[in-house]
Symmetry: C2
Subunit: 260 residues, 2 copies
């Protein structure tokens, strides 16, 4: 591939925060990189060259390498032995598979939440429900996304299933891009609202079985939406691209405002 250009992929700017002196050295690299990936400041498929990134984050290559290893374990970056690391791209089918796992785990959390919810927590959930309704009424998908995220998070906290929560966090991190695409679909918030309210009802009603069903229904609908977006949503970039190679592309993908 004739690619003489000086790697003009000055893509993501990466917050050039420098590590707070004295405290964390590679921790800085980890959080900065994760933030950059999740917020879309670096595009999926983007090549992550150690030296370059190290310079940009003001850490040494060794520290950054450690960060890459950890992020690889989190599923955010992909590393091939002697070729380097790149931001992991999640295909549509993978997104579906991941969401199927989410369905299993979130259903578990919902069941547990319905069993353990306290009156105070139930009140918080109901408040959240009002907030969701308001967001839809106002037609504000941005705030709806936020509230939605908070709902799922709250359910997890109530469930007390720290193991499942940890797994879910990792799975969700891999989906930001897809969730983002999903949030753009016009009718979506209105559609998912009902499902969300059903989940809240079931949990506050302390009905585990209903919570299970409601959660599964919700995520099943997310899956069908993902399938639709997967075949139609990526216009030019059909199917697979094992080596999108360069990557270049200005990774301006706006802020991630995931929501389903």
């Amino acid at each position: 591939m004739p690619r003489p250009q000086p790697d003009g992929s000055r893509a993501g700017s990466l917050s050039s925060d420098r590590p707070r002196a004295g405290e964390p050295a590679r921790a800085h690299a980890i959080t900065a990189l994760r933030q950059a990936i999740l917020s879309g400041d670096v595009a999926p498929g983007q090549r992550l060259v150690e030296e370059e990134l190290a310079a940009r984050l003001h850490v040494t290559r060794g520290s950054l390498r450690a960060a890459l290893i950890e992020l690889t374990a989190e599923g955010l970056v992909e590393r091939v032995p002697n070729k380097g690391a790149r931001v992991r791209v999640v295909t549509a089918e993978e997104a579906v598979a991941i969401t199927e796992c989410r369905m299993a785990l979130e259903a578990l959390c919902a069941v547990k939440a319905a069993e353990r919810v306290t009156d105070q927590q139930a009140a918080a959930l109901l408040e959240l429900a009002e907030r969701l309704k308001r967001c839809v009424a106002d037609g504000d998908p941005r705030k709806y996304s936020e509230a939605n995220q908070e709902l799922h998070r709250t359910v997890r906290v109530i469930s007390g299933q720290s193991v499942a929560v940890a797994l879910l966090d990792r799975l969700n991190a891999q989906l930001v891009r897809h969730q983002f695409q999903l949030a753009l679909r016009p009718g979506r918030p209105g559609h998912s609202l009902g499902e969300h309210l059903a989940i809240i009802d079931a949990i506050t009603g302390r009905d585990p079985e209903a919570a299970d069903q409601a959660t599964r229904r919700h995520l099943a609908s997310v899956i069908t939406a993902l399938r639709a977006a997967g075949t139609a949503g990526t216009p030019g970039a059909a199917g697979r691209n094992d080596h999108p190679d360069d990557t270049g592309r200005t990774a301006a993908t706006a802020r991630a405002a995931p929501g389903e």
Copy 2:
């Protein structure tokens, strides 16, 4: 620098395999350490000192450090910022929580397996069923464990849910010790045999709903067994032990023969 070092037989731990020259350097450290942990050659709670381990595995500290980071992400070791790493100890309650997640995910796999199983795969499952029965009849818990592991593995392969499988592998790795304890209980194999056969029946019968139920029943029974073992199995060590500190040496815990 190939030095024929004496390297006396260090008190029973860690195979002193040296990295095969030329190819993998830190990969060796990872696999060796993982193997050591899973097989019980190093005890849970055991402190993992970088320099010492590096010397023992014939890799440099840097490489070993990378290995530790990856194993930390896998949930096998625990690392506190300036204090060092140790083999993660999984409390009984954590084991229960983990198994609850397994229940959710394995049920998912079982459902998918029931939907996708081919005739050939079904035949393999039935053969496996015969093998299980034979093991119980022969009273050979060791072989039963093997067959059991293979059963679960086969179901996962059939399911085709690579994401769920990856998660399950990680979860299982954290449970080796508890599964081992479980396998020792006398009545256990006979008890679980029925549950296993039910799972096989459901999948070969291509009945997703039944597969879901059978899997859940099986793991629910595992959970109750875990609870029983958890309260009775660790006599003195009730509850938490933040710093078991030193860590018994001589971690001879025999080969792990997990089975449930």
